[in-house]
Symmetry: C5
């Protein structure tokens, strides 16, 4: 799993049905000292997170195995909020 | 999921049967500010998009779980059009 | 999916049974202008391609879902020949 | 599979139910001479490891096939402790 | 699939049960001219290979679909020995 920070959300009217009830966040990927790597992912919220939160992401086939994403065609899900002092980007 | 921009289409006569009804687009991958990264993917359209659209891509096993791609041997599907001011490449 | 060019084949006597009936090609990966990226993959032919062909590759779990590769332990399959003027490497 | 070194743990109160009984370690990825690569993963412990251990990681769909992680939405699991002289980071 | 060269083995006492009967090799990844790339993987032997052999690797969900690795939590398996003049590393 990777560590990321919520920095924005994705708005979309035209999308597949399964995505409509879900919240999609723009996540900056962090290194192991929680510094920005310059890479990002778009990830589904499965636990209720918000802007600035440091979070844990699971990718690949596991991303569609949470209670919220079961069998939804997504490849990146937020599965935990990490308890740590937050950095400002 | 990744953010991309539709920049072309792929034409092919010789292909596996499952791909014949599908539209394959050439997609430039964008960074989190929607600038071109220099990388690309070939992706299946599942929602009806067009040239210049900024779109959301799902990859891996999830790509073959949309209504359009179920059990089709593809690894990249377009699952949403992102509502944002479009950039010209 | 990625775009590649057939540049060679892989010969092997000692291999798992499932690979024996299959043709394995050495494929150079191309960028979106069909220039060589310097990267490669070894891919299974599922449609009948030949040297110099520009082809479409599917990777990951989808690679073992074609009629030719079903349940074969491969991670890269050639699923289409792209209709374009060929480049010489 | 990749080789890593346990350098920290991840603490989290808000997380999906399936993760609650599991220990999540911060793992630095090592090269083939066991030097730090600068990359990391967050991985689930399935065998009982500790700080400084050099370990083997399995990723992707295989990560959720151990006795401890079966059907848990994780993408990286620790599956062995490698017997070698330990490096200090 | 990728091309690699067997350069070492991994010894481990503490590991998950499913790994105990398997041989794990350290594999240097090669480029398409069989030169060392500087990257490596740890891979399961499914055909009987040895030091210095040039081999073909399959990764991801396919790695656990050989007769030897079925349902074992591994992500990289050796599926063929490539017939070629061997390089010395």
């Amino acid at each position: 799993m990777d560590i990321g920070k919520i920095v924005g959300s994705i708005t979309s009217v035209a999308k597949i049905e399964e995505l409509k009830p879900l919240t999609l966040y723009l996540v900056h990927l962090l290194d192991s000292e929680f510094n920005n790597t310059g890479n990002y992912m778009v990830a589904v919220d499965t636990i209720g997170v918000g802007y600035g939160d440091i979070i844990l992401i699971t990718t690949g086939s596991a991303a569609k195995m949470t209670a919220v994403t079961r069998d939804v065609p997504v490849d990146t899900s937020i599965v935990a909020r990490i308890d740590t002092e937050k950095e400002e980007s």
